[in-house]
Symmetry: D3
Subunit: 336 residues, 6 copies
């Protein structure tokens, strides 16, 4: 059994029902989510031992966020209660030719303002085999960034497998700020979730060559990066947006050994898209075994996980292994 | 006017709103349904005189189920109040590539535990022209099975037209159990709703021949069955599941006179799929006239009824004759 | 900045949630709408100075309707409170192969029974540059009809730009009644929203010629009408109903100068179709400038406005200029 | 078993949830009610054979109203489908020192506009033992009034027991109009639900005497009326409104034999007050036996029925005999 | 007609339905409120010309808050759109022996961070007769505080009548901070809403005397303050909390002329208590006329307004003059 | 820190919203509860280490029940997934003079049908200091009863403190059946929650004496029992039901040392009464320290816990230590 740990922000999510616009709604559905928390929950649902570190205000909102994690059996021992504010975000769910829209109110949250000494590298990493980090955690606050960088380094020294998702969000920081932070982390990570833009522009791994196609370009840059780092494999998804509620999704896998794999492509309708990328990561990490080099299996499984998430309300992939395998097998309809 | 009677179980159905999973919902929508009850209501909506027999606990849940039938003007004179439990079932409504899922809690319901003597063959059949029976009723309990078999035989003696829907449900009984019960009923029925598997494997009517195509196979077996029974016609639907919420449906008709008819095929999106098969039966029985041999009209009308049901919440086809005809004519959009 | 004024009825709209049929729903969502009110709100959202005249009962229902307009900053100075009844209508929202259905209860509303002297031509038109009138307002009551005809004439004398939407509703009046009223208005209007049937049969502008195609027919009749009136341009939409919830929409533009333009065609899924025609009018009027003859820009923009409305609950286009331009540019997905 | 018949209007009732004001609510709960319909349902719940006559529009709203009656097993054979409009009313539920408020929209309903010949005296009265009429039915329309007067006369000739509830509503007619109609009915009724004002001012039965107390006044006038008519007994309730949601209720009984009985007084909190008077009538009629002269039992039982109604959402007393008896015995708390 | 202006913060309020705790709710009702905004709306409902100044983020949340004011006809000309964040607060509604609980998330809102120059003294005060200011506005931010102090001074110079409500909130600032700001404002205000603590401790008006009773103490300090300032009258409410949902409320009035008036006391049940103090202020300002010295009428009317607010969901007193007068007259029950 | 363990059934609870009757509701609120689970959660909320053993079906309903416990940090290591059915119960919430009503559907649940060997005495008791058992667990099934009896004996041998709540439910078993089982447990328990009836009739501890008062009777029997067993103290609550939604509650304490304490009495209004007895037990166990003999503190604290539960929706006391202390101190109103 893998023993994961991750850290980051969990927010209260407020969603108008029934495709209402935020301007017109008179009630909001309440769930809790955040990239790393979503991954933690999905991995716990797949049966893993998962630990999560964050800081939550010691008020009813923080308690509710805490319980939303604990119900899935996540080890919250390094999570601390304190500070004033739980970050919130509003998701206006569009349809067809109307876009969805997200409004954030997370700038001053407890975790964003956390001090370096409030968390403990040792407590977080104790007895873990895997550490997952996302760029969002690096972007939230200065102390949190520095702590996270040190966490990655220490985990590397301890021999943990480290996965990293760029998760670049322009509303949180500039590309320059992201590059400054992420480049400190990149040398230590083994599994990367990234686009070409992420590796080349943010990560700074450029080859100086010209490429005939985007595929060649991606392969060139990715290979260059893996050759000059500890990274063993890079994964990413490719989305086609036929409409706001109908998308296609496929994924790719590049490995240090030179494997290139493009998955099959799913076309599907969307109930709730938020967290699909996190479900992809979680599904993939659920089955990926670096020693077995089961990259193809992992990315196909991760893709199915990400696709399935689109049909589930809230940020979280509420699913188990057989749900994913049913989807891989193309089963739809009604089970009774 | 046809005077129908049917018997069976009506349950409380609990449905999470808004495609929520059962694991996450905090409220459940309440309706009432069951195969034979659904047919009874749809036939009453079409203007027929319909009688329904069941047993319901004399508590608020049983009373609510009772009223859900009576609001449509159904004659509940043979229905008795007693026992402890109203069966329930939960319908988790999937979407796109996520399957729907049904969880049953019906094993110990009042009607499943009914004793033979609690019901009266005479009262149920008095003044009726049509009896409809489904395999589900045969599967629920030993006494209910024996009573239903005797009911079919008595109805046959009295000259009623008897329709039978295999409705095989693996969660209720094994194929062997189903075969044992259904083979006692099959010789007496005039109108059958069945698949090839139903007739051949459960019904036991095999020809021993080899067939080049499934269509030929079906025709061979169905003809064999009709040649060796009182059955005048066999109907069934064929479903293609493009996704959980988009299906295509067509139907077939085979008659003792040798008519084979495949209907047109509808492709449509689904609001609520439960009860579609019952709506098909009800729509078909609404117009089928064995003397007039209007099989083609009947199966096309039944198919439209079944298709329309997919767009209505709850188990029940809430529709009248003009709604079905509008659909047959391809009318969609907004009436104002 | 354009200064619009329009007049008409605003009703309480009652909509069953979740595609429920009116026969089965136990709650109704409440919004307020009516063709001219919808246009007034959309124009106000686009930033224009908009005035609206109606009569509302001085009870909580009338007050709520009043506030539903005032929240958008509409000048309600000519609107009067009085009478007994706020008209209502029920919208049963179909899906796929099930049609939507509208039930009206508007016959005896305060505005329908208004007396000529309750409104003031002068107050309504003061300081306005544009008057919009729809056939619905002409259909509601005798005094309202006569007042509206005089309003158009007076606006014409004052030099306002007058737009007119036929909006023929068979449930409100006969074609003969409509023709009698509308023909008094048509000579004075500059911008017309109409179908071929509207202009030819209701408007009475026939050429006596035979046409090879419907396009030629439309062009012939429209040109004839514009040659014999003050009308500068005619707009209309063309809808294809693939299913109740999936339609295509395009639009046309004909001008007195001979321009004929057919827009691109959008195919989209529907959340709420009511008010789409009004959004088309409002979007078009938002950008149309008769002097600049920007007909093509206007009709494309109007079409996008009408299309976008299909994805928004309620009668009203809750959108601003950038929302429309995003749609014109084909942007879908999630903004975050 | 008593065989009741009554006639009148059933409306759609729209109630804002959660004590919201009509001005602020965005959804409305939907039920169906009307004085005579409420009584019919409560009597059916008590196990009686009940018939109800009305006219309902043949649209989904009328059908829903129809089913709301039929679910209780009411015989609707004399009810006809036709006309345009189902009357509606809105109930704003106050609390504490805020009053509740009712807004009606019933003036032009199908039943109010019914023609005399649409109903049949014979069909309505066939095989009935009791006719109940309320002043509201007399107030709705001219033909309906005349038909109802003739119905009372014919029922009297046929030997039915006739009960009459003044139910004077100032929003429906003037005292003079009420007097004109009701005085034609009063000579034929056996059981009357009335206040002193009803009998004296509307009914026109004055003694010319002066009374020291209101009780003496009531007794004097009631006795005078009963001495000069076929009326055997008069019942009424007395309400003290401590606040909008806390009231006390007691009742009185006067009989031709000179019995005067004042019931005990209940003090209770209110969930939904509408229909409490109808529940009083229904409960009383459930047990009243003129031959047995069980007036005291009847009025106490009726009062308990009326009190219990205050705790049930909607217009209708959903209760059976044991519920009423539990209340008479003072049982409160939780049954498990 | 009085012409009011006020300024301050309007927030999104999130309320769990049905007395749920924040820890358990899965949806939140959405309204908008803030002390000064609540007063502005109530005064507009009473028919006054009211202007309101604030700063709102130019996103859907800010737009919704903006519309929540404009629907009542409030002049928002000095309100500016900008900044990032709309403040929010959560109201957990207790019952009986469970307290209600408010959680704020307002620290970094657009209005709290406003710069002095973003608002204009002249635009806000133009054509106004009354300025209302509350201590909350002084507490939110440094620039806002300084602007508000200058606004009061300028209004004083322009001859406006100035009302001031201490509204001290310990979660927003310390007593020392409050004293520093409020003492700059106090010399210029004519109408004050305050407790003894407010005037003595925060305002710094102490007499140095000893008093036998709290009433004498209050009178001594209040008189001292009015003798040394421009203040003409001081009002306040006194609350007894019998339980979370049942309170008593009375009020007092002290004037510079020496009038002391204690109002009658209402005891009532609570639907929603937030905003009751604002309703008191608004009701009082609605009728108070300093020249007519109708202090007693004003404070009784204000109290009734404050009491009525407790029965209305949301922060806002949705009521008109006749609603308040009905309450003064003790009318409860059902209007129909 | 105390280390508790308990075992029993957790069911899905279905509650009609808004005081609706089960006969009329169209949705049901979903929570999870059961006496021992409720106690486990409340103790976990108070900060204790709590373990819970049950059997749940491995379907979405069982998973949801499982998570409802785990969100509070309860150790579910001895809980097993299997069997078919999750028990359900329906709570119809009355008001004022209408009683609440509970309908159970729990007879055939997974835990009721559990086999002795499916659970492990050792695993359940490992590292625990306290075992709590309720009569309900003894009543559900034969194997479960025998296991629970052995569990109590083993816990006694291991030196755990054992608390026992009679919790007699006539719908589950007869007094004779209860006596047979409970008398095997009683000799081993240290803390008992019981009425006089429980100890005397079910427990079989009679003194043969006559008592002048019920208090003397209770003291006599309780003392007799404590003198002849290991029981150190007996607690119970006394309820007065002024109406369905207003009760008074007090409690008593009897100890082996002869202490008799009657607590103060709370009078309060009820939001949700289910689980109040469990909250009493949990609050009391939270503070009770047998060595310190803080019986009075414990029973007062337990009573406040039980009272507070009446104001919280669902079975569970969602509260922490400061909430209870606030109530003990009489704090009501609004915290902000």
């Amino acid at each position: 059994m893998k023993k994961f740990v991750t850290l980051g922000e969990i927010m209260q999510r407020l969603t108008p029902p029934n495709h209402d616009k935020l301007e017109q709604c008179t009630s909001l559905n309440v769930t809790y989510g955040g990239s790393e928390a979503n991954i933690a929950i999905a991995l716990a649902n797949f049966g893993h031992d998962v630990r999560f570190a964050t800081k939550l205000p010691n008020n009813p909102l923080g308690v509710a966020a805490y319980r939303s994690l604990r119900q899935y059996g996540i080890d919250l021992s390094p999570t601390i209660m304190g500070g004033d504010i739980l970050g919130t975000y509003y998701v206006e769910v569009g349809h067809s030719i109307r876009s969805s829209n997200v409004v954030y109110n997370r700038k001053h949250s407890a975790i964003a303002n956390i001090k370096y000494d409030e968390l403990s590298l040792t407590d977080i990493l104790k007895d873990r085999t895997h550490l997952h980090v996302s760029g969002i955690t690096l972007a939230l606050g200065e102390d949190l960034k520095n702590f996270t960088i040190d966490l990655v380094k220490k985990a590397f020294d301890l021999g943990l497998i480290i996965s990293f998702d760029f998760n670049y969000r322009a509303k949180l920081w500039t590309v320059e700020e992201a590059a400054q932070a992420i480049r400190q982390v990149l040398p230590y990570v083994h599994i990367v979730f990234a686009s070409l833009y992420d590796i080349e522009t943010i990560g700074g791994y450029t080859t100086g060559e010209e490429y005939a196609t985007v595929e060649a370009h991606r392969q060139g840059v990715f290979t260059h990066f893996m050759n000059h780092s500890n990274c063993k494999c890079i994964f990413g998804t490719m989305r086609e947006q036929h409409s706001t509620h109908q998308n296609s999704l496929s994924a790719y896998c590049y490995t240090a050994e030179g494997l290139v794999h493009y998955t099959k492509k799913y076309t599907f309708e969307i109930v709730d898209r938020v967290g699909a990328g996190d479900a992809f990561v979680a599904g993939l990490m659920n089955v990926l075994n670096l020693e077995e080099q089961n990259y193809v299996e992992a990315v196909e499984y991760g893709l199915a996980s990400g696709v399935l998430k689109h049909t589930i309300n809230g940020d979280v992939l509420i699913a188990n292994d057989s749900d994913i395998k049913d989807l891989c097998n193309g089963s739809v309809g009604m089970k009774r």
